[in-house]
């Protein structure tokens, strides 16, 4: 506040000095000019009376000529003083109003307020860089989960949206470039409660800058970054960015999984699916010849996914490279029947409308279905504003970049256990294999143990023995018990998470139903039982420890 106050005083220095001078001159004149009292005796005003008279005259209150009626000489002087003082006050007021509207002054005020809000945060918070579509989805979800966050965006208009959004908690937001380290520092990158930086601006290089700043200034906190190209993603990974999310690549992986093993894909969709994600495809994409419209970043990922699966694909793109990297290429947009026919839409099994223009994508999809109603349509939605159109079209799969990134960020932020399942294709496959085996009923024992390991991680990464795991579960239980409405996991433990709940639901539903309510977990008797059974966890038929975890999902899990 000090700097703002000094800045204000500095700007109104001149009017203050002017006013002090006017008052001083006025007082001197009033004191020097002799007056006459009612009895006709000469009388001089004291300094105090002169000051009093000037105070009410200059501020236009005007009590009159006190204590005695003035002589004409005094009145002449008073007239001069009135004009001087009124001009002085007008100047002062104009200066103050001008200062209030001054951009630099307002920036100083905003910055100061932001810094103070961040400094006063006394619970864990995340720094969200970029409040575009992705950032907005992410922030709404974080807010619903009861997590605090700080928003940084280059556009002041978006920062205004943060204020209009009406979050449950106060969200410190600053309009500033994340590439400028000072802004990140103001946002609390070195704050003891900062739990991570999520860089989801539309500019890959800004995300990169945020990541490298975080890694250098505060290496202990994780960074989650969005990267639209593989080069930037590799660059980010090279200096230890904890999670790099490339929505195109991720969607390519999902599509590949759906093509390769539909059952595993559906299972994954059920386990990690959040409402409205792209994962909820009704039927698996068919094998056969595909058409890919748009050969940009997205198109390349999709082609890569078809290549892995050994599927043939025809590219439709006005700027496709000559020869199309060894594939059939049709020049054109694909919005008319001509290029689609040329690409063989009548014989193809599916089409990917993946240009960076929503209207074109919809046009491609509609035209293609007219040519061949049986086509499996994968649609790319670029702008959130066009959602109703895409919802009305009902594509078989819709790729919404902002949602993919936002949900991926959320799953990382909120559910550490979901990480090994979904971070990389390779891990996902391995994880899927395990889940598939367990879901099929085989290898119960191993499955149980693995699950324990995972749940332990979920509960704050406690050590190897089952004991801390149980303790963590009890902590969960107590917490959920203490705040029934909307519980938040304590800082060390995992935050409430949907996929967490899904994992538990999937794991041992039978045991869970038999389990006592959450409150029972903190009473001594069940604790002993829990510990005891945990030690028997190695036996092939039982893995009851999990039941204790599942009795105490943080509230809110089930709802999401």
């Amino acid at each position: 506040m000090g700097s703002v106050l000094l800045l204000t005083l500095r700007r109104i220095r001149v009017p203050i000095i002017l006013l002090v001078s006017v008052y001083a001159v006025g007082i001197i004149g009033l004191v020097l000019i002799p007056g006459v009292d009612p009895q006709g005796r000469p009388w001089r005003m004291s300094i105090f009376h002169a000051f009093y008279f000037l105070s009410y005259t200059a501020s236009t209150i005007g009590f009159g000529e006190i204590p005695h009626p003035f002589t004409d000489a005094q009145r002449l002087w008073v007239s001069a003083v009135i004009y001087m003082s009124v001009v002085g006050w007008a100047y002062m007021i104009a200066r103050v109003l001008g200062l209030m509207q001054d951009r630099g002054f307002q920036n100083a005020l905003t910055m100061h307020r932001f810094q103070r809000e961040v400094r006063r945060l006394s619970e864990s918070f995340y720094i969200v860089c970029g409040y575009g579509e992705t950032g907005a989805i992410l922030c709404r979800a974080l807010d619903r989960m009861g997590l605090r966050f700080v928003v940084l965006d280059i556009e002041a208009r978006r920062i205004d949206e943060v204020d209009l959004q009406g979050y449950a908690t106060d969200v410190p937001a600053l309009a500033g470039d994340v590439r400028i380290v000072a802004n990140l520092e103001m946002a609390g990158i070195g704050h003891p409660y900062c739990r991570g930086v999520i860089a989801v601006t539309s500019d890959d290089h800004a995300n990169l800058a945020a990541a490298i700043s975080t890694k250098l200034l505060n290496p202990t906190i994780p960074v989650v970054c969005r990267a639209m190209t593989r080069e930037v993603a590799q660059n980010m990974a090279s200096f230890g960015t904890d999670h790099v999310i490339n929505p195109f690549q991720r969607f390519g992986e999902r599509l590949w999984l759906a093509l390769h093993s539909p059952a595993v894909y559906r299972l994954l969709a059920r386990l990690t699916g959040l409402p409205g994600t792209v994962l909820a495809a009704a039927e698996a994409p068919p094998h056969g010849r595909w058409i890919v419209c748009g050969y940009g970043r997205f198109g390349r990922e999709i082609i890569g996914c078809f290549d892995r699966e050994g599927l043939e694909a025809t590219i439709i793109d006005p700027r496709a490279p000559a020869g199309g990297d060894g594939r059939r290429v049709v020049r054109g947009l694909g919005t008319e029947a001509g290029p689609l026919r040329e690409a063989g839409a009548e014989q193809a099994v599916g089409i990917v409308a993946g240009t960076d223009n929503d209207v074109n994508n919809l046009s491609i999809a509609v035209t293609a279905r007219e040519l061949n109603p049986k086509l499996f349509v994968v649609l790319r939605q670029n702008l959130e504003a066009n959602r109703p159109l895409f919802a009305a079209y009902k594509a078989d799969m819709t790729m919404i970049s902002a949602e993919i990134v936002a949900y991926q960020c959320l799953s990382i932020v909120a559910t550490p256990p979901a990480r090994p399942l979904s971070r990389h294709g390779g891990n996902a496959r391995r994880g899927m294999g395990r889940i598939a085996r367990r879901a099929a009923g085989g290898d119960r024992r191993r499955g149980g143990r693995e699950h324990m390991g995972r749940t332990r991680k979920c509960c704050g990464g406690a050590g190897g023995a089952p004991r801390p795991h149980v303790r963590a579960a009890r902590a969960h239980a107590r917490h959920a018990d203490a705040r029934p409405g909307r519980a938040r996991a304590p800082a060390g433990l995992s935050a409430p998470s949907c996929s967490c709940a899904a994992t538990r639901r999937w794991c041992f539903p039978r045991r869970r139903r038999r389990c006592s309510p959450a409150t029972a977990c903190s009473s001594p008797a069940p604790r002993r039982r829990a510990t005891g059974s945990a030690s028997r966890c190695e036996t092939p038929t039982s893995a009851p420890t999990c039941t204790w975890v599942s009795t105490a999902p943080p509230a809110g899990c089930g709802s999401a």
């Binding site: 700007r11 300094i47 105090f48």
Partner: protein, 127 residues
Amino acid sequence: MNLEKVVFGFFILLAATLNFGFVYGDLSNPEHHEVYELFAAVVVNLIATVLKFGDRPHVGAVHLAASLVAVLQLGAATLVWFFAAHVGPAGLTSAHLAGVVSLSAGALFANVVSVVILVAETVTLRR
């Protein structure tokens, strides 16, 4: 030569000299202390303080602090004078005047600090 520096130095010095002029003399002798000089010292001190607003460096901050102290002391002296001359039944007694003068002497000390800082600044600038 910088006109701003001249004005700055002028007001700081004038504040100190006027203050000294008022304080100089027998502590409780009304003939040695002119109330108009006190008035002038208050006005000039106010202007000197305002001139120091907004100077960021450390020296500027100490400057401002010294001036604020001086204004505070002179304000207290003025109040004592006011209560003695206008409110109290006995008028301005020598005891009251002693209070006014000693408070102004405190302000003089702060003003001297201001002048010393000003001189020190000038000397370092030369180097």
